[in-house]
């Protein structure tokens, strides 16, 4: 098992790099049919390897591989790849794979260098509610990441339209309306998942008698507030397009900052 895990750990970044290569070719070259086939195959292989690694780690540790930062990051990378596949399947965004899979490849590579180096979490955290909380959070992060990538692409295309720059990126990007709707959809989904995760987290903390409020919790509440406001403003004030994209990017930046603040600081 250890050899298999070591092999997967070595091959996974390579698999993601190959994916990015083919998706890059798909975006930047003319021969889309051929590149699309290779991109589809490469992402299927990378996701299968990633899934196999997560299952192997679970089998080796006899628990969900979510307890350390490295494991959580590896799981986040997997969620990002899944979210990319869902988007590709539901909204035909394969052309954007170079951008939407980029965060997955980055997180997976960073996670692998952290794996097995950290201390285990305290026994208090070994609750099944913790797993629900983490999975919902990571799914929300993945949805927010995709929304942020789409929002950034929206702003890129918006700028090109305003400046009348009809270059390759202009031609390859999907319509503004599609980018706007997709980023709104993924940010709303992320908001729902983040809300679910927060509710589970608060319930679990209260049940187990944990207390405390660290910068991370404050940051997450700020993130939630930004995304809830963005969704509400879109619906009620008609804040679509550029303004909406900027708010999504602001929310995502707040999310990154909140996570840089470190882990939860509860005490018992």
């Amino acid at each position: 098992m250890e050899i298999f895990i070591a092999l997967l750990k070595g091959l996974l970044p390579v698999a993601y790099l190959i994916c990015l290569w083919f998706y890059g070719q798909l975006f930047f070259s003319a021969d889309e049919t051929k590149q699309s086939r290779w991109a589809k195959l490469s992402v299927a292989i990378a996701v299968c390897m990633h899934t196999a690694l997560l299952f192997s780690l679970a089998a080796q540790y006899h628990r969900c591989p979510l307890w350390t930062q490295g494991e959580a990051l590896l799981f986040l990378a997997w969620m990002l790849a899944i979210v990319h596949l869902l988007s590709e399947w539901s909204a035909d965004t394969r052309r954007l794979g170079f951008f939407t899979l980029g965060p997955a490849a980055f997180c997976a590579t960073v996670a692998l260098s952290f794996l097995g180096k950290e201390l285990m979490l305290d026994a208090q955290y070994r609750s099944s509610w913790f797993i629900f909380h983490i999975v919902a959070s990571l799914a929300a992060y993945a949805a927010f990441s995709l929304a942020a990538v789409l929002a950034a692409l929206y702003l890129t295309l918006h700028r090109k339209l305003k400046l009348k720059t009809f270059d390759l990126t202009f031609r390859k990007l999907p319509p503004l309306d599609k980018l706007d709707k997709l980023s709104a959809m993924w940010s709303f989904l992320g908001t729902l998942l983040m809300l679910a995760s927060t509710v589970i987290g608060v319930w679990w903390v209260r049940r187990d008698g944990l207390h405390g409020m660290s910068p991370r919790e404050i940051g997450i509440f700020v993130v939630l507030a930004i995304f809830l406001f963005t969704a509400a403003a879109r619906r009620t004030l008609g804040w679509r397009g550029r303004r909406h994209a900027i708010w999504i990017l602001a929310g995502f930046a707040a999310l990154v900052l909140a996570n840089l603040a470190g882990l939860h600081g509860f005490h018992f």
Partner: protein, 433 residues
């Protein structure tokens, strides 16, 4: 006696196109489906032309054929064409072209790849060639050679379509407006289009938008007559220009093409319209000269304004890109033409291969007959199977090698030595006797 390949028919093309002939000559050379049927049958009747396919569109009329003597075929076709249509042989000769062998194949592949089209990259031609080939094939005018060449041509056309972007990007002003609208709004089905002014340009843009799926049109004009006429043509509504501000909020796309000397759509008009749009983007195209829409409109949030100069830039950019992609397409044509050339060369060894197989098949059959006489039928089946297997294995290497030599252009020398080594000619002569 050494075996000689029977004289192999050569491919040729005789025709005239937009580069070589005037519109009036092209019109006179044009053949409709019925004329093509009669003309093809006339040409094939006396055997000078062995196979043919006739392509006739407004930009080109071409006859692709196979003949043992292409020069004779050329004269024959020119005479028949001149007799059928109101043209002289001299006109065809002066304003047309005649190409044979690799040049003809390359020409066909360039046509199919839309490299020879009036608008570079206009892929409609591939469908037209397909139709003409289908007609020829259904009537039995094509056979082994032309079938193979046309199939390779379709493959070349598909490769050019999928491996290059030669067909991408609008190359007309009004279609460029539609493409930009799609870039902003996505699917145009169900979008509301407002056309300001009832001029030709506005009508052309409306036509393209209608084709792209837009179904709700509002036509604004100073007088109701022209607006009503356009509304009737596109199934929309007509309004007076003075009502524009009131209705602009409903429109997703506004195309302005009036002859007015002053600004017709101001920043205030658009800001007012956006209040009713709940953040939905507004796409505006100003194709009037002088301008109809205040340039400051382009600075408003969720508003995208394009002028005729922007559209011209988009078109020229697309044309330049098509020209760049044409280099890649030419390389594909060369690659595929070279493949056909090597296939054609390999055909030179086909008679030797056929004789070789026939000779050894006959030997095998005789031996099986000798050993199977008076034996149970199962044994005959086994012997036949053994004979077939051995024959295939023994002949595999010489067959492959002969084909390779043929493809490399050494077909005659290879045939000569194969004939000497396997005594094919003598055997044929004995059988002939």
């Amino acid at each position: 006696m050494i075996l000689n390949a029977p004289s192999q028919p050569q491919v040729f093309v005789l025709g005239a196109n937009h580069l070589t002939a005037s519109v009036s000559l092209r019109d006179r050379l044009l053949l409709d489906e019925k004329s093509i049927q009669e003309f093809a049958e006339t040409l094939l009747k006396d055997g000078v032309v062995k196979e043919l396919s006739i392509l006739s569109t407004c930009n080109r009329s071409e006859i692709y054929g196979m003949a043992e003597d292409p020069k004779a075929a050329r004269t024959h076709i020119e005479n028949a064409w001149a007799a059928r249509r109101n043209v002289s042989e001299d006109e065809i000769r002066t304003h047309g072209y005649f190409l044979s062998e690799t040049e003809a194949i390359r020409h066909l592949f360039r046509v199919m790849g839309s490299l020879d089209s009036m608008v570079l990259g206009e892929m409609q031609i591939l469908g037209q060639v397909k139709d003409s080939y289908q007609l020829a094939s259904q009537n039995g005018w094509t056979d082994f050679y032309l079938n193979h060449i046309f199939q390779s041509g379709f493959h070349t056309g598909k490769r050019i379509h999928s491996e290059t972007t030669i067909h991408e990007g609008a190359v007309s002003i009004s279609y460029a407006a539609v493409e930009l609208a799609r870039k902003v709004l996505g699917d145009l089905r169900g979008r509301v289009v407002g056309v300001v002014g009832a001029g030709e340009m506005g009508e052309l843009a409306a036509q393209h938008l209608h084709k792209a799926g837009a179904r709700s049109f509002l036509f604004f004009n100073r007088s109701m007559g022209p607006a009503e006429r356009m509304a009737a043509a596109f199934g929309g509504e007509s309004r007076l220009l003075s009502e524009l501000q009131e209705h602009m909020g409903q429109c997703d796309i506004v195309i302005s093409a009036t002859g007015a000397p002053d600004i017709v759509i101001t920043r205030e008009h658009v800001q007012g319209a956006l209040r009713h749009r709940h953040g939905r983007p507004l796409f505006l195209v100003d194709i009037a000269a002088p301008r109809d829409i205040d340039p400051l409109v382009g600075e408003i949030e969720n508003t995208f304004l394009f002028t005729i100069d922007d559209l011209k830039n988009a078109v020229s950019g697309n044309l330049e890109l098509r020209r760049q992609e044409a280099h890649k397409a030419e390389a594909i044509v060369e690659e595929e033409a070279a493949r056909i050339e090597s296939w054609s060369r390999a055909l030179g060894v086909v008679p030797v291969l056929r004789t070789l197989r026939e000779k050894y098949q006959a030997i095998t059959d005789r031996e099986i007959e000798k050993w199977a006489a008076g034996q149970p039928p199962e044994l005959r089946t086994h012997l036949e199977s053994l004979g077939r297997g051995l024959l295939n294995k023994f002949l595999h290497a010489p067959t492959t090698r002969l084909k390779q030599l043929g493809e490399q252009g050494d077909g005659s020398r290879a045939s000569y030595y194969a004939d000497l080594l396997f005594a094919l000619a003598r055997e044929e002569k004995q059988h002939g006797d």
